[in-house]
Symmetry: C2
Subunit: 260 residues, 2 copies
């Protein structure tokens, strides 16, 4: 059973995952971060000792949880002798096998969610995507995951990569459209609040209806008059026009293809 966890990394994901683990009764024995300020900040939140020195990392815990940016994982782990540890990373795009060179006992504990330090997330609804180097470790990770979330998936590294890509579309790209919408309004003295009920409903709708069936608007029916009208509003912004045209064509293609 995993009861004592060492954190390597103190960013947004580490902060939210640490809070959720603490709430689930797990003992966070230490927080390591490359910058002392981050280590201290998360240590304070988790009531844990902290360090920014790799040689001080507490390897006595049941699990070393690595929540670093993808590029930093190797850089940090190269400096630590993890051979006796169970280690997991929390990254969408990094294969589990990367950890094989550090320990025989390894896995992945990937929460599929977007995290910020200041906004707490309800982990009970977060899909936890697990992978492990053995059935025994998988069972331990599942037991740990079940303390936080009812949504647990066992997925391969290849499947996780696809999910991470899909998440970029459904979160990062979506958020950028919120931003572009907000800029359009702000440039014309209009308030982003206007869009909020629409944003909420657009997201709420696909909880119940397939995104394909939920599509509305001029692109779906290729309403040339409206599209021309919209393009004329973006003459000063060729990049935005380009994105608008790509999306409009992609929507039309998707709906033409299937209804034809």
């Amino acid at each position: 059973m995993i009861q004592r966890v060492t954190f390597i990394g103190a960013g947004n994901l580490a902060t939210q995952l640490g809070k959720a683990l603490m709430k689930a009764g797990i003992d966070i024995v230490q927080v390591y971060s490359r910058t002392n300020r981050s280590a201290e900040a998360l240590g304070a939140i988790l009531h844990s000792p902290f360090t920014n020195k790799t040689e001080e990392i507490d390897l006595s815990s049941d699990l070393v949880l690595v929540a670093l940016k993808d590029d930093a994982i190797g850089q940090v782990l190269d400096q630590v002798d993890l051979r006796e540890c169970l280690i997991v990373h929390t990254a969408g795009s990094v294969p589990a096998g990367l950890l094989a060179s550090y320990s025989k006992r390894y896995g992945v504990f990937y929460p599929l969610q977007t995290f910020s330090k200041i906004r707490d997330v309800d982990f009970s609804l977060v899909p936890l995507c697990l992978e492990a180097s053995s059935a025994e470790i998988l069972a331990d990770l599942k037991e740990l995951a079940a303390k936080m979330s009812a949504s647990i998936y066992e997925l391969s590294s290849d499947e996780r990569k696809i999910i991470h890509l899909a998440a970029v579309f459904a979160c990062n790209f979506v958020n950028h459209f919120y931003y572009l919408g907000e800029r359009l309004l702000a440039d014309n003295g209009l308030d982003f609040d206007l869009l909020k009920p629409l944003i909420k409903e657009t997201a709420a709708r696909v909880m119940a209806i397939k995104p394909y069936d939920a599509q509305t608007g001029p692109a779906k029916r290729y309403d040339e008059k409206i599209i021309e009208n919209h393009l004329s509003l973006m003459t000063g912004n060729p990049e935005l026009r380009e994105i608008y045209l790509h999306m409009t064509k992609s929507i039309f293609q998707a709906h033409k293809k299937i209804t034809e």
Copy 2:
């Protein structure tokens, strides 16, 4: 005071707006649609007489509400003598002035939301964007709007056009990314349910945090390794790659510009 309303149009918007008006105690005196089946269906929902003949449209009401596709507005109204009527349309992109050729008393009643026939919307949260040919009519429309929603905006036709464009980004384009994410998962035997908590949180977050500050993910920091990895997953789909690259560049540009 507007108490009796004639509906011209029976689509998604007409259905949801009709239900909301009925709930607000307004009398829907008649529903007209070009197809008898649509007129009958909405008539049944609103407990109203219906017709598909323009010469039978009931012009005795306090307001003729036109909820037709943009192109159809002129086609239908050309066949009706509306000179004695107060008429409004409900379209984002159509200038109020289009109605001036039919009556001196006209306006716009544009609910900024995405509507489907089957999914009921809480109108109390829907921004109602109003415009009118006179202060008196504006007051009447405001009074009517206030029976349904606490969110009332007086906006010019030019402002409404911008809002409609921003709504295409924040709703139609966003929904298409939900769809593309779902396709990516489905093509790999994975369930769209995986993405739902992320979609919810991404929308919920911008209710409290500015979209710019809410941005996360590889594009923001131009993480080349992840981006290359993602592109390699889309080699079979050049269109999707193109959209991915455009979005990634746009996100990076937006964040570079301001943080530099």
